[in-house]
Symmetry: D2
Subunit: 139 residues, 4 copies
Amino acid sequence: MIEHTTTVQVRWGDVDAAGIVFYPRFFEWYDWGSEALFASLELAWPEAFPKYAIVGVPIVESGSRFVSPARYGDVLTIRSRVAWVRAKTFRMEHEISVGSRLCATGFEVRAWIARPEAPGAPLHATPIPDDVVKRLTGA
Amino acid sequence: MIEHTTTVQVRWGDVDAAGIVFYPRFFEWYDWGSEALFASLELAWPEAFPKYAIVGVPIVESGSRFVSPARYGDVLTIRSRVAWVRAKTFRMEHEISVGSRLCATGFEVRAWIARPEAPGAPLHATPIPDDVVKRLTGA
Amino acid sequence: MIEHTTTVQVRWGDVDAAGIVFYPRFFEWYDWGSEALFASLELAWPEAFPKYAIVGVPIVESGSRFVSPARYGDVLTIRSRVAWVRAKTFRMEHEISVGSRLCATGFEVRAWIARPEAPGAPLHATPIPDDVVKRLTGA
Amino acid sequence: MIEHTTTVQVRWGDVDAAGIVFYPRFFEWYDWGSEALFASLELAWPEAFPKYAIVGVPIVESGSRFVSPARYGDVLTIRSRVAWVRAKTFRMEHEISVGSRLCATGFEVRAWIARPEAPGAPLHATPIPDDVVKRLTGA
């Protein structure tokens, strides 16, 4: 199974008045975990999106459980893995922890969305190319 | 059932390079929908949190399905409702749409968390006061 | 002089652990003030940028003085005006206050940047069209 | 002169629909540059703020010139230095570049603000302690 680990430090602007992380930040970090995993597979988004003529890999569904708070100054470990790859979609799973303490687990189902023919035209998922599937599955 | 509707406009800084909303923004809007619903019940967070000696109503679990994209300039309608209230937690459900087109549905399970005795001390959920339960349930 | 006033409420995610607004948010509000002023002149960015074949009106220089803090729950008034318009650039000035209390004053010098011939090509300022100048100056 | 260099990668959520960085992000990076410089002096904010009984080092004034765009995927170098230290305030100066190409220069004047006696009480600057001055000036 393809996995990747990256770290991020909780910044001053990430926490709310209660001193704990504002929860949408966790989804930014899941996004960042996915981006970092792709980069580790030589599929860095800035190059891969134009190369494969896609607008990106937008989210179809996402969710998270929050187990313990992350606070200002914490160094977070983001562990990301590819849970499955289907014809036009794939699922990422993420764990965020501070040292050995788990803060949150989350997932993202993402679709491979073709660049539309004209700006603003409807977006459609398109088959994930074989070479990308191979990298994402480690096959 | 207690419901509240608010609107928000998609700003330049909310969209990504594909011209569609960066998905963690939806969770910011769910948070905003919850905040607006509380304010409509005379439970505005800036006053209610100190009054009830809580740090806030942090997220235990959250999730979202994304049905169609929101784009720069769209005016979003956020419909929020209280799905249930238990002893120490409650569930919010949200729908975000542009006109009649649904963009996303999401939920948040939140806990009523007492202010800790010392800064940085562990956080614990505490029973939601009766008068708050009544307002949230419309009882 | 062309002026426009809009309001925005300080949200939970806008404040830091000290309970006061994280300062980059003020620049997001200046951006929003500029966007709202343009919209009030029938130059809403989502329509105007494609119509005039520009990538947008990126910032050349910006600055702000912070006079008093904005806090969670404050309703901010953003007063924006067009200070001057030159051939390819213009200057916006903004005041943000809570009731009669001034929080911050800021400015933005922005350029009228043509859409590049190819993605990633260098960006160049181009003359602001006469009809836009007229709207921005009220001439 | 005390200096510190850190790096940050431009993420998907940092860029706008034009594919270039949304300008308030630069101020988030200046903030981050200041935070990293303090940490390099054993004045990491999460420990230093409680230790010195301050709410933080809020901004009095800030400004930036934007020379060339930063784009999605760019790795930014943030060079930060302490320009001067006065009784209750200090000035940070920052340069952000991609390789040898300068993107932006900015500054922050920050104040040493005592923790208020009661929540919501007015905030006042207080003298920067000698040992902090020594670290910031390298004296």
